[in-house]
Amino acid sequence: MNLSELFITFPEMSKESLRIFKKSIDGAYRNFSREYGDAIEAVFDPVLYFLVWFEKLLQNSPWPLVILVILILVYLGSRSIYLTIGSLFALLLIGYFGMWEDTMSTVSIIGVCTFMSIGLGIPIGIAMSNSDRARAAITPILDVMQTMPSFVYLIPVVMLLGIGKIPGLLAVIIYAIPPIIRLTDLGIREVDKEVLEAADAFGANKRQKLFRVQLPLALPTIFAGINQTIMMALAMVVIASMIGVKGLGQPVLKAITNQYFTMGLLNGLAIVALAIIFDRVSQSFGKRLQQHRSGSRE
């Protein structure tokens, strides 16, 4: 081998060692999942029960009642009569085109994912805002979670937990949780230093500062994060359906493999309708939270 050749072909490791390298990691992970898969699955059982219960509740309750509850929530969140009427029509159309059950499945998994993301994400965000070291450690993890193609982390999740709701849930949360963590951190760090100094001057301890000053002032930013999280969870619905999550994603998947254009379009539009409702409601709710800044509140 002469010198010029060395610069043209990359000096890669031998095929054999690469094969051994991959095989041993895969093997180790397979052993790990055989050993602990059931135990880890058991940890998620309560979440699974809740998810199934919530899905059944939405599907088995009389549809007018479900629509009514959704509309009430929409109105309370947005205080907009137009959005409420628009939501009513969207839901009626979804039902009329035979997508009610799938839609309810999707709403239930999005709901659970959002609550879990909020429950996990806000404390992580607070921890990040508290220490630069935590921030330096967590930020690259979030970057990986957001940029790694979701199919890649679906492989180990499926190897560990099999196909079903829980792996889907995990995949959605991994994809959707970064914004709420980042924006909680950002919101708390953005709180005016002088206001914090005032809280210090009055002898507030860390907890009092967090709950009375930092979190309330960061709330609008945190809400932007919740909004992002919901949107990203909805975007994951189709991918999650590949590992057995029921809902609007499955017919889309079926439409792709069988070239059923109309079926794909209808289900796709149902996802869009849900996204618009969630987005508008959470945005206008977030805006109302910061009304004290514009001074229009009585």
Binding site: E197, A198, A199, A201, F202, H292
Partner: protein, 338 residues
């Protein structure tokens, strides 16, 4: 003079990662500029010694960067000193542990900030109640106290407004009420009136003096405005580059400025307005038989017509109407000249 409330001794503050190391260099006379250019550390306070009398208003003055805001933050330890001690009622607050420090801040000090630093998400009454709620005082009592102070600063009827619905002057009244609501014995005011426009500023100064008549707090007041300092301060300290260059009454500072820096500072002041008869009169001479007289503690400006109209020297009486000396036009001319 009342007993000493706050005693600051040999206080140094150097900002930087290795601040302790440079204390000897600074105390041996290294300048602020040299420390910054050679060692990349910022000298905040350089060997401050200052006693503040109980129930007095101590004004700390200086241009921006002189260390006055740094100094006031050492009183409630929002900034940790590099070296030195701050005694309050003979207790060294630089030695308090974390929970003692919180207790100290909750009960002993109140602070008013230049840019108000109100809590934008809370209405006025909740803002005023903040210090009380931190102390977990029950709701009825804290409501009562907050209302009392809102009333005292003249903001009745604004309890449920939000800070950004109020003008600057009103916001700073909220700041003052918030600082007073916990009934601290020390009030720290960091350029409290500097962000207000002149008329409102005068108004607030009058209100503070009026309140102080009854409250009798020990007040440390930071300002860069000499007129404000002369109006409010029982004593005035002047900082330059982290050093305390002079500490004295308004008269001492005007009559005998310690150095060029102070001289420049006081150059444009209307002396006749600040100084009293006793600082320029002659404590000698014989009482003349004219009816006109002025008092020792009158300020010169208010006596100007009398002094200038009079043909001869004027009698000066003390507050028991006893003759103490004479004052002439020349005395006044001297002081107005420079």
């Amino acid at each position: 003079m009342n007993k000493t409330k706050i005693k600051i001794s040999n206080l140094y503050k150097i900002f930087g990662n290795n601040s302790k190391k440079y204390i000897p260099k600074v105390s041996n006379g290294m300048s602020k500029d040299e420390l910054l250019t050679k060692y990349n550390h910022v000298l905040g306070l350089d060997d401050i010694n200052l006693n503040v009398a109980e129930q007095s208003i101590q004004v700390v003055m200086g241009l921006s960067g002189s260390g006055k805001s740094t100094l006031i933050r050492h009183i409630n330890r929002l900034i940790e000193p590099t070296e030195g001690s701050v005694l309050i009622d003979e207790q060294d607050i630089t030695k308090l542990n974390n929970s003692e420090l919180l207790e100290f801040r909750r009960n002993r000090t109140g602070m008013v900030f230049q840019r108000f630093a109100l809590f934008p998400h809370q209405n006025i009454i909740d803002n005023v109640k903040f210090g009380l709620s931190i102390k977990n005082i029950e709701k009825a009592e804290s409501n009562h106290k907050a209302k009392f102070w809102i009333d005292k600063v003249g903001l009745n009827g604004f309890e449920y407004k939000f800070p950004n619905q109020l003008s600057g002057g009103m916001q700073q009244r909220v700041g003052l009420a918030r600082a007073l609501a916990t009934d601290p014995d020390i009030l720290l005011m960091d350029e409290a009136f500097s962000a207000l426009d002149p008329l409102i500023r005068t108004d607030m100064q009058d209100q503070l003096l009026e309140l102080q008549k009854n409250l009798k707090k020990t007040i440390m007041f930071i300002t860069h405005d000499l007129d404000e300092a002369l109006k409010l301060g029982d004593r005035i300290s002047i900082l330059n580059g982290g050093k305390l260059v002079q500490d004295g009454t308004a008269e001492e500072i005007l009559m005998s400025p310690a150095d060029e820096y102070v001289k420049n500072f006081v150059k444009d002041v209307n002396r006749a307005k600040v100084l009293k008869i006793k600082s320029i009169m002659n404590f000698s001479g014989v009482q003349n038989n004219s009816d006109a007289f002025v008092k020792l503690d009158d300020n010169i400006e208010s006596c100007l017509p009398k002094i200038l109209e009079s043909e001869h020297e004027l009698n000066v009486f003390d507050d028991k109407n006893k003759f103490v000396g004479l004052i002439s036009r020349n005395n006044v001319a001297d002081i107005l000249k420079n």
